[in-house]
Amino acid sequence: MAVLTEEQTMLRDMARDWAENESPVSAWRKVRDADEAMGFDAGTWATMAEMGWAGIIIPEAQGGSDFGWLSLGLVIEELGKTLTASPLAASAAAASAILLGGSEEQKAKWLPRIASGELVATLAVDEGPRHDPAGVAAKVESGKLSGTKAFVAEGDSAGLFVVAAVDGLYLVEAGAGVAVSRRHLADFRSHAEVAFNGAAADKLAGGGANENGGLLDAVLDRAAVLTAAEMLGMASAAFDTTLAYLKQRVQFGQVLATFQALQHRMANLYSEIELMRSAVEAGLAAIDGGGDTRQAASLAKGKANEVGHLMSRELIQLHGGIGMTDEYDAGFTLKRMRVLEQMWGNTAYHRDRFARLSGY
């Protein structure tokens, strides 16, 4: 755990208490069973917004608290531990696009509504099943945007889309010219296909979509690091659950935790999760630092993908048969982890990007 300020410690503890008591995994199970396209509980989201979480990275002038990215990451990590479903990360990533590239007018128009939680915003970048910002083909002509975005997170509830087009990022409101179709993935969260057919689009300042280090890159870095923070929470909770299980499950007349083969696997997982934590916290700190975030973000997401993948597999394996049942919670973690692994770049994507940024 990074060294936190008093404010950050309070925020983290508050998020932890709330998630454990008010939003345990059983709450997600209810949402899952309801099987609605939106993929989260509106009341839960409203409560989160009331606590100010939707505005953590938004300046006070626009109704936020301006607590910074590490603070937001801490909250998202705690929510990840109990698999709390909400559009918090998607909305924050979209808000960051407006913060970084928006005019005063655009900021004043959208940020207060995002900060209050009344408006769900999201990024619409990829047009295929794999993360590929260089492959964006959506176009804007005479202020009208056309193109289809695949697997838009929280697309089913979003009122505002930050859309990547070939010449930059655009703000598009849900409504006329925007057709949303549900895409039902294994994690039961919202991943909609969104077709824009001549939708009114308002351009954000900043670089074009294919420009390295431009606005799109900066926004994608933020989305990737927030996703990594959620994965960190999931991995660390999966680890704790597994450890507790090994300490009570008896086989061959012995508690499983006493077997050295399992002890060494857990020691290895523990070490890997600590490295993952360092990478994620460094990613958040790099965003707060305000400089080039590319390499830190690729490190955070790349390491999170790798360790999250490993931990979610071991979660099932070390639980044995019980881990395979829907009645047990482990499957939720596995299914969500694979979705997050694909979002904003898989392991190979970030290794490649890290290498390119390092000059090889």
Partner: protein, 403 residues
């Protein structure tokens, strides 16, 4: 070590920096700029040039080789802030610390904590001046990872002990003047029967045999003790307290081995540069072998995450004023990554990376081969990876033994 002077004031610090600069200009021979420390290596004997000897003597008299040790025992008596300035100024001048070895890294700090006044006065100044080399008498043929099983026995003969038994993996034993050893004084109990003794290596009955390693070097020895007389004045702490003292010394060792990452910092060209040279680069300047490129990137990312973790441990320890639990993973992760890098480096170079000696190989290539082989020891010594994993599982995760 409870030794630190009061933090210097800002003006005091500026004055101190000026003083250090002046002293370095006067005492550090320019011909030694950027050269290696001849004394730090356990890999070989030391043959000091007159300049090196003069430099060691100067630093030894100043106590600046062990800057934060107490002045009364020959240390520098500097505050941490002053020690930092000294390090900065030495780096600026291209100067290196000529005082090192196990006496500085492990034994000195332990003796400062547990030794009696006579012992500190006898041994610490000699370490601070770099005049006495110490070796570590810990491991035995049947007490490596299971160190508390040691059998080397010290029999009480009134004013002295008589030591019989064998130690092994004695790093630099053939060049050492003295040995800090843990020996058994009571066969009826395991940890409680262990005592910490200081043994002169030139005592009658001490025999040292270097062990040839796979790297071709012989930095480790077998050490045999046959009726070796050790005065009781050379016992540190009480009889039976050796395990506690010995473990503290191992903490110093582990800290040095992980070194917050700094000692493991890879030197030389980057893996990617070497890969571009041997495997070629594509039109976009990428390593042409995509599998190799991906594995280099994975290694670099893991290494970065490791360094970030080491920094985090430091920051956390500072904030809470204790050792962070994360510190125990640094050795396992750091040593594993060090070995992976060495493996990648030789793989990248093909057979050119496996040169043993002689013509057709650069010095760096030959060093790479030896380093790759010698590096295999890092996951074994100082508590093997398996032992570290036991520590993590049992002490941090609370996974216990069979009931």
């Amino acid at each position: 070590m409870a030794t630190l002077a009061e933090p210097a004031t800002t003006s005091g610090i500026d004055q101190f920096r000026a003083e250090v600069r002046e002293w370095l200009t006067a005492n550090f021979p320019a011909s030694l700029k950027g050269k290696d420390n001849a004394l730090s290596a356990v890999e070989g004997p030391t043959e000091e040039t007159p300049e090196q000897a003069a430099w060691r003597k100067a630093m030894g008299e100043k106590g600046w080789g062990v800057p934060t040790w107490p002045k009364e025992y020959g240390g520098g008596g500097l505050s941490r802030a002053e020690a930092k300035i000294l390090a900065e100024e030495m780096a600026r001048a291209g100067a290196w610390n000529p005082i090192g070895g196990m006496g500085v890294m492990m034994f000195g700090p332990t003796l400062l904590e547990y030794g009696n006044e006579d012992q500190k006065r006898e041994h610490i100044p000699a370490i601070a001046r770099g005049e006495v080399r110490w070796c570590q008498g810990y491991s035995e043929p049947n007490a490596g990872s299971d160190l508390a099983n040691l059998q080397c026995f010290a029999e009480d003969r009134g004013d002295h002990y008589v030591v019989n038994g064998q130690k092994t993996w004695t790093s630099g034993g053939q060049w050492a003047d003295k040995c800090f050893a843990i020996v058994r004084t009571d066969k009826t109990q395991k940890q409680g029967g262990i005592t910490f003794l200081l043994i002169d290596m030139d005592s009658p009955g001490v025999e040292v045999k270097p062990i040839q390693m796979i790297s071709g070097m012989s930095p480790f020895c077998e050490t045999f003790f046959t009726d070796v007389k050790v005065p009781k004045a050379n016992r540190v702490g009480e009889e039976g307290q050796g395990w506690t003292i010995g473990k503290r010394l191992l903490q110093h060792e582990r800290t040095n081995l992980s070194g917050g990452g700094s000692r493991l910092m890879p030197s030389g060209p980057s893996l990617a540069d070497v890969a571009k040279k041997y495997a070629g680069a594509d039109a976009e300047g990428r390593v042409a072998d995509p599998d190799l490129r991906a594995r280099i990137a994975k290694w670099e990312m893991d290494w970065r995450a490791f360094l970030l973790t080491a920094m985090r441990v430091q920051a956390e320890s500072k904030a809470v004023g204790g050792i962070s639990e994360v510190s125990s993973i640094l050795k396992t992760v750091g040593t594993k990554l060090g070995q992976e890098r060495a493996e990648l480096l030789i793989e990248i170079q093909g057979l050119q990376g496996l040169g043993w000696e002689g013509e057709g190989f650069s010095e760096a290539q030959l060093k790479g081969t030896r380093g790759w082989l010698f590096g295999k020891a890092t996951t074994i010594y100082g508590g093997s990876t398996e032992i570290q994993n036991n520590v993590i599982a049992k002490r941090i995760l609370g996974m216990l033994d069979h009931q």
